[in-house]
């Protein structure tokens, strides 16, 4: 617990909490019109009293847009990571615990999938299915599954060799109970760490996909989409890119810091 209170931990946790707060509470406090109201007279205006972060090319207030975009971006990334866990966790556990032929076949498949860059996989899936909100989630989720499966398998393998698992077997514990009582609790820390880091990458991935037009589509707005829209106006209004870009950076930074500290705290090699 004490290690969480390091500077890194505090900053990381604060950023994450802030972003979560905005994502969850934001839409309740901010009426959607405030983000979609177009004011063509004030388009591409710089930061001012009326518009704290300025406006975009359609005169929409960037502050509110980026706040609402939080929910979209986090929502997509979070659901995608959840999807990758739902698929990858059982796969990894079965592979690492039972080993043998099942493990060989599954891991060969996973290794081959890992030869495809995650972003590429996500792009292809999204393009093939047709870019929209749920397909983006599916695309990013599937792209991140092989990596998670590998991590889970590694952990399951490590835990399955521990003497307490052998002791439980000697006590008559069957496979299902073994997985529930002993394997799962001992791999969850690493899974959580990995999930945090994957979340960071998922946000970056969604931003990349949207930037290329193969991710979130209007009328939904995500940070990536905002950056993409700002491409033509970089010279005259760089804040249109910097505001959403900054949001991405802060969120990812916070998640990376948090994940780092989490990894240190939950390191199984440190015995109590």
């Amino acid at each position: 617990m004490k290690r969480f209170l390091s500077t890194k931990g505090v900053i990381g946790a604060s950023l994450v909490l802030l972003v979560l707060f905005v994502a969850l509470i934001g839409p309740l406090l901010i009426a959607p019109e405030m983000a979609t109201k177009m004011d063509m007279r004030a388009r591409l205006a710089g930061p001012s009293f009326n518009h704290i972060f300025g406006t975009d090319q359609l005169g929409r207030d960037l502050f509110f847009r980026v706040m609402l975009g939080t929910q979209t971006s986090i929502g997509i990334a979070g659901t995608a990571v959840l999807l990758s866990i739902v698929i990858g966790l059982p796969l990894g556990i079965v592979s690492g615990y039972y080993r043998g032929h099942v493990d060989n076949v599954l891991m060969r498949l996973v290794d081959t999938l890992l030869a495809f860059p995650a972003l590429l996989l996500a792009l292809v899936i999204s393009a093939m299915l047709g870019p929209n909100l749920q397909n983006t989630i599916i695309a990013v989720g599937i792209a991140f599954t092989p990596f998670l499966a590998r991590i889970v398998r590694g952990e399951a393998l490590r835990v399955a060799q521990m003497p307490y698992v052998e002791a439980a077997r000697a006590s008559g514990t069957n496979d299902l109970m073994m997985i529930v009582r002993h394997i799962l609790p001992n791999i969850m820390p690493q899974v959580i760490v990995q999930a945090t880091i994957s979340l960071a990458f998922a946000i970056l991935a969604e931003a990349g996909l949207s930037f290329l037009g193969l991710g979130t589509q209007p009328p939904n707005s995500s940070w990536g989409l905002m950056i993409q829209a700002s491409r033509d106006y970089l010279d005259v209004a760089p804040w249109t890119a910097l505001v959403p870009g900054g949001a991405v950076a802060l969120t990812v930074l916070g998640l990376n810091m948090f994940g780092d500290v989490l990894r240190d705290v939950l390191d199984p090699r440190v015995k109590g």
Partner: protein, 313 residues
């Protein structure tokens, strides 16, 4: 000898799997190729005729076989949007992308390894905090953001380097380099940040090992202990990590090349995806995955040179 045979078998198997996955992923579309060529509003009979001639009514296995056979004999089909044989398109694109991949990796490694070692040696002191914080920031920003920064700074503000365009390294290396520099920097910065963190992590682990203490007890200077004894053990892990990053890099080039209008493999892939040019998508995805796999293989083989413990296998 059997080692080599095993390896070749492995490569062949993986290539087959890659082709299968590529084919599978590109055939889950709701629409179909014929409609893409002729448009959704076209005459249903003409569509049916086109489907027949393209062989789209055959079972998937047959289509797959046809595709693989075509690849093995050098016929990769024609691109739907460019209307030329795909093999013609790939040559220059591969070379241009190879240039920025190699360049960005070189930039990243050259900076990351010393920085990472420096941070590890001074861990938990200001040098470490500075280096690690900067690296953390670097990892948290998307590549295209760096790209945009590079454009704003070097192209628009300073005007030193072009912000778009490409040249074939085979024909004009100097020009190719000029166009490649900014994209490589954009890619390299994010990569460098990640590699710095990994190098630091690997070095910290090595410095905790007993043989480092023994080397000090021998009376060797700290400089020799760190930069020869310890670093020699870090090359292997860093190489592996860098190899894994190449995969990530090939994903990033899609975004970065598009941003810079640098027509390499990434740009090509994006165009294909945007326009649902299925034959081209299949080709580019396959090439990228195959290249990534081969590079990882190369790293595995090089690892044997670096770590004598592996040689026995």
């Amino acid at each position: 000898m059997s080692f080599l045979l095993n390896r070749l078998l492995s490569i062949a198997l993986t290539l087959v799997l890659i082709s299968m996955i590529t084919f599978a992923v590109t055939n889950i579309l709701p629409g179909d190729v014929a409609m893409m060529i002729m448009g959704t509003q076209s005459n249903p009979e003409a569509l049916a005729g086109l489907r027949q001639s393209l062989g789209l009514n055959d079972p998937l296995i047959v289509q797959y076989g046809r595709w693989v056979f075509g690849m093995l004999t050098g016929d990769w089909g024609n691109s739907l949007i460019f209307k030329v044989p795909i093999t013609e398109l790939l040559g220059q694109k591969i070379r241009s992308s190879a240039l920025i991949v190699v360049l960005s990796m070189a930039i990243a490694l050259a900076a990351a390894v010393p920085l990472g070692v420096w941070a590890a040696v001074h861990r938990n002191k200001w040098q470490d905090t500075l280096s690690s914080s900067t690296a953390l920031l670097g990892v948290s920003l998307p590549d295209f953001f760096w790209g945009i920064m590079m454009i704003l700074l070097f192209a628009r503000a300073l005007g030193w380097l072009p912000s778009s365009g490409v040249a074939d390294p085979a024909t004009d290396f100097g020009a190719a380099l000029r166009y490649a520099l900014l994209p490589s920097l954009a890619l390299g910065l994010g990569l460098m940040a990640h590699l710095t963190r990994m190098t630091r992590s690997a070095m910290v682990g090595i410095l905790n090992q007993e043989f480092v203490r023994v080397a000090r007890a021998k009376g060797l200077s700290e400089r020799v202990v760190i930069w020869r004894y310890a670093l020699a053990n870090a090359i292997g892990p860093v190489m592996t990590i860098a190899g894994l990053q190449v995969g990530y890099l090939f994903g990033s080039i899609i975004v970065v090349e598009t941003l810079f209008n640098y027509t390499g493999m990434g740009w090509l892939t994006y165009q294909a995806l945007l326009n649902r040019d299925v034959p081209l998508i299949q080709a580019t995805v396959f090439v990228i995955a195959a290249v990534v796999m081969l590079i990882n293989l190369l790293v595995d083989l090089l690892y044997v040179l670096v770590d004598p413990r592996i040689r026995l296998e």
